[in-house]
Symmetry: C2
Subunit: 592 residues, 2 copies
């Protein structure tokens, strides 16, 4: 908050016990202060905007009624946990700009005993919390266990499995469904018709998804009404069986633009509070927008082309306007990655041309579908993997550096690693038009780089690497968006050793060009691999295995197998010896 404003209550909240000291009128003022703090911080810092503005009153009510951490609150995705953080000893990270980065954007047990899990993926809260409840029952302890889950997260398989299981607990378990009638974009899926029916009947509709899962049910028409929320929660506190409290909140509440444009304000960059305009801007091209435009053009000429997303349409550039332009050729299945992959496999099996796109971190949610539904059936669908990179998202729960071991070790999958714009679109176009292979494409994440060259159009001759620069002694296999690092490394090696190395664009993550690799032995004694992901289970290790019995020395460069969190890219690159100079030094040392 600006120093000129009066903070009557928030400044005094150190623990949830301090919330309990306030009366309803004071709690309403506290809510206003929290909302002002959120808008202030997020306008300068960026972050999840709409979800937190909607959760102010409910969070106050939760901490007023329950006794955290004895009573355990588990937030789904936990991008809506900012208010919870404010009330559990972390208010300063929302009040003072210099402390903004003291907290992560998600719940984090390292920050507070009031946080039980590091979470960031959707749809996990019910299952995780039901585990806490089970442990409580096994050890004969007491206390409430509460899962807080948004309506958008309900469509995810893990959440639905958890909801189905919950009734089996037969003991205290409270599921708060925060229904703001939105996912990141609009909701998709039949269950949202039922939520609408429940909202419109004040929770009295006899057809009730939660009751159909065997759960008790309560409805709170206005989850932004502190008194109503307190009353509702007091009623379920210490309940002896699982119950759903379905509360309706307003996403973005308290900031007019966010109330109106919910999708745009789900997450925000720093912005001007008066105008809502972003105060930072990105110039130039991005692969999302380029991809949407490319696909829209293809859709015009081919009714069989269809783009599929699991609730993240803009990762591939499909803004609301472009989704409308695509019409039936764009499908948002909601948060349901497993379904998205199997659905795409079905589409491809029947001869149409699906392109499913998601983040590297979220493709993790659908390994079995990639293997069983897609690859065993050799369905020629296309999967685009975004932010699969050290340059991607840096929160521990959203890292994009694990997809190579995940995807590339599935038999019959073709995983392509384009190195520039021309190659990316050539590969994408080939993948859409071919009907032999399941294909995944690792979208570059180091900016849109054009090499100005005409890329090859046919990638059906699998695992043929491309020699970009013929040299000797050392060969660099520079995969995907580490190709440019490979170019720099080649220069550095040439400078330091006086011998220009060979530079290769492997293009295929999923297989070896044994002919080329064998030929390299003739006049190369060192082979370097570079990949933008963890080394374990990755591309470089396959090369190391290939040369295992030869005299060629292999140096694998990539990232260490570890969970990073909010890291500095340059530091991580340096620690992993991923600078051209470090690599050239290693080559020099090995040559001596």
């Amino acid at each position: 908050m600006g120093t000129g404003e009066i903070i009557m209550y928030l400044e005094k909240i150190s623990t949830p016990a301090d919330v309990k000291k306030l009366d309803t009128e004071q709690l309403v003022i506290l809510a206003e202060e929290m909302r002002a703090a959120l808008i202030q911080k997020l306008s300068k810092h960026g972050g999840h905007f709409g979800p937190n503005l909607g959760m102010v009153e409910a969070t106050i009510a939760l901490h007023y009624v329950f006794d955290s951490p004895k009573d355990k609150i588990v937030f789904d995705v936990s991008h809506q946990s900012y208010c919870h953080k404010m009330l559990t000893g972390r208010k300063d990270a929302f009040l003072h700009e210099e402390q903004y980065d003291d907290v992560s954007g998600y719940t984090n047990p390292a920050e507070s005993k009031h946080d039980f899990f590091n979470v960031g993926h959707t749809s996990t809260s019910v299952s995780l919390a039901s585990g806490l409840a089970k442990a409580r029952d096994l050890s004969g302890e007491s206390g409430n266990v509460i899962a807080v889950i948004g309506d958008g997260s309900l469509s995810g398989g893990e959440a639905l499995e958890g909801l189905d299981f919950a009734s089996e607990l037969k003991s205290n378990f409270i599921i708060i469904v925060n229904d703001n009638n939105m996912s990141i974009a609009e909701n998709h899926g039949g269950l949202y018709q039922n939520l609408k029916e429940l909202r419109e009947t004040n929770g009295t509709s006899p057809c009730n998804l939660f009751r159909a899962f065997g759960l008790d049910y309560r409805f709170v028409p206005d989850g932004n009404d502190i008194s109503a929320m307190i009353a509702a929660l007091q009623e379920v506190k210490d309940i002896d069986h699982p119950v759903v409290v379905h509360m309706v909140t307003q996403k973005g509440k308290g900031y007019a633009l966010a109330e109106q444009y919910k999708e745009n304000w789900h997450w925000c960059m720093p912005f001007d509070v008066e105008t809502g305009k972003p105060t930072v801007s990105f110039e130039g091209e991005d692969y999302g927008t380029l991809t949407a435009d490319f696909l829209l053009e293809k859709m015009k000429h081919d009714p069989k082309v269809v783009a599929v997303t699991a609730a993240v349409p803009t990762v591939m550039g499909f803004t609301e306007e472009k989704r409308k332009a695509a019409g039936k050729q764009f499908v948002d299945v909601g948060i349901a990655e497993e379904h998205a992959v199997a659905f795409s496999s079905g589409i491809a099996a029947a001869g149409s041309k699906p392109v499913f796109a998601t983040y590297s971190s979220f493709i993790q949610r659908t390994f079995d579908q990639l293997s069983q539904d897609l690859c065993i059936n050799k369905s020629p669908a296309t999967v685009l993997i975004y932010t699969a990179s050290v340059f991607g998202m840096s929160d521990i729960t959203h890292l994009g550096i694990y997809d190579i071991p995940l995807i590339s070790n599935i038999p019959d999958m073709v995983y392509l690693a384009p190195t520039c714009k021309e190659e990316y679109f050539a590969m994408l176009n080939w993948s859409i038009e071919q009907n032999q292979y399941p294909v995944a494409v690792r979208v570059p994440c180091n900016g849109v780089i054009s090499d100005g060259e005409q890329a090859e159009t046919d990638y059906s001759n699998l695992n043929k690497y491309q020699v970009k620069q013929q040299g000797s002694k050392t060969a660099i296999l520079a995969l995907g968006d580490f190709y440019q690092l490979g170019e720099e490394t080649a220069k550095s090696i040439a400078e330091k050793t006086g011998i220009a190395p060979t530079l290769v664009n492997p293009r295929y993550i999923t297989g070896l060009d044994e002919k080329l690799l064998t030929k390299l032995k003739e006049n190369h004694s060192i082979v370097i691999t570079l990949e933008d992901g963890i080394l374990d289970g990755g591309f470089g290790e396959k090369i190391a295995r290939f040369y295992g019995t030869s005299d060629v020395k292999v140096l694998n460069y990539g990232l260490k197998k570890e969970f990073l969190d909010r890291y500095n890219v340059e530091e991580v690159m340096y620690q992993n010896r991923l600078t051209p100079e470090q690599i050239a030094d290693d080559v020099l040392q090995l040559s001596e």
Copy 2:
């Protein structure tokens, strides 16, 4: 069928068109013949028993009403597709013993144009079929698309995601829910209360899971009544929107023992038709039974120990009787692997001691939960991976050879590979009692082998390999249940080269014993790795990377990255050079 029996109709069915020629009375006789053929074949061959006996009439009705393959039927799991196979040109594989193996146990596009997918995992049909429907709509084609899914499969996340999405299709899509009130074992989850309510109200209960997912709904009280099924399907044929046909069938119908003991007769070994007694028997110990007994003993002394299964309780030996003995310390979450892992993580995070067990093939369904819910949170849960081996199940959809790349490349996971009974139980016991690491244990699959030695009890000093035999020149790192292959290989190498090699039990799949590996360089020029799984992304490649810059030659042995199907183990071992003689030959050649 025995040659003495009269087959009036089944012998004459070559295509579904032949089914349509029969009248109701004849169809009833056809059903009897099919049921007799099933009992006959399965009593000699083994296979999925109860599910197919229950589906005879419904399958006849499906092919009587619909026009396959223009109308497309997708079977969930497809272990209930035997009757479908009989009616689509594959009857001989059910009538003549010498042709029994002409068909697989699941749908298979390579066998017939009436099969659309290779499936074997549960809960995929709705998503796959909805893809077929979408492709039909995109290309302006017509025809019905039908998904057939059992009640047990409904609890899986992929199925629930698919059900939720289905209503968005807004065009022809028919979901047949085959409700026999059973999963493999009894059903678990709240939705089964709703199915019960629907059965008891003849489908009229206003609270209806399927309607809550936005779907139209019909109820057929007796799915084993051919006329009723025909009438119900005729009513939904060519429907212009998604609809669920909820039919009640009797699992195991027509074989009294299977009707009574549904769990035991879900799948059968060859048996005597008169007595129901198996005609083959296994002697000796198995890890399932041993594990259940071990856990039951621990449970007696520690109320915090809890075994968790996702609908496959007997994989870890928990028969109905042992489940009862465990009481609240055994939890079957139903077919819901994602939930099972997150639930276990929650239990462990709160200080109790969960042991989740499943098949290698099914752990694939929960990668993100292993990574995000379990490992990021460092929850000290135990996961047991069964049939993770070339010696495991051999159907393409149930292979157990992909778990090493899947599990071992997740940061902070400890994946252990015991080599014998003593080591397995020592590792399991350590894992249950420790509270630092998420631990998975790869249960040996080459029989219960006892080495008679006292195994170490503490595995918290991670990645410390065990030298079992000190030799020179060649070192063999023999992982898990390939340790015995390592022993034989050591002998063979000693014989052929005259130099006894070093034999190492690596124990840890997830990390390197760099100290030992460095020391091996001193008097070894060849290092061999053996692992019972695919090489890509596996253990051996990590060793190859480690030695990449040294003079040590590395030979990695394991399986090729490919989808095998109903293979002969010995052949596969030979093709992958996994016999002691072949390996010794390779060493000899490399030494020359």
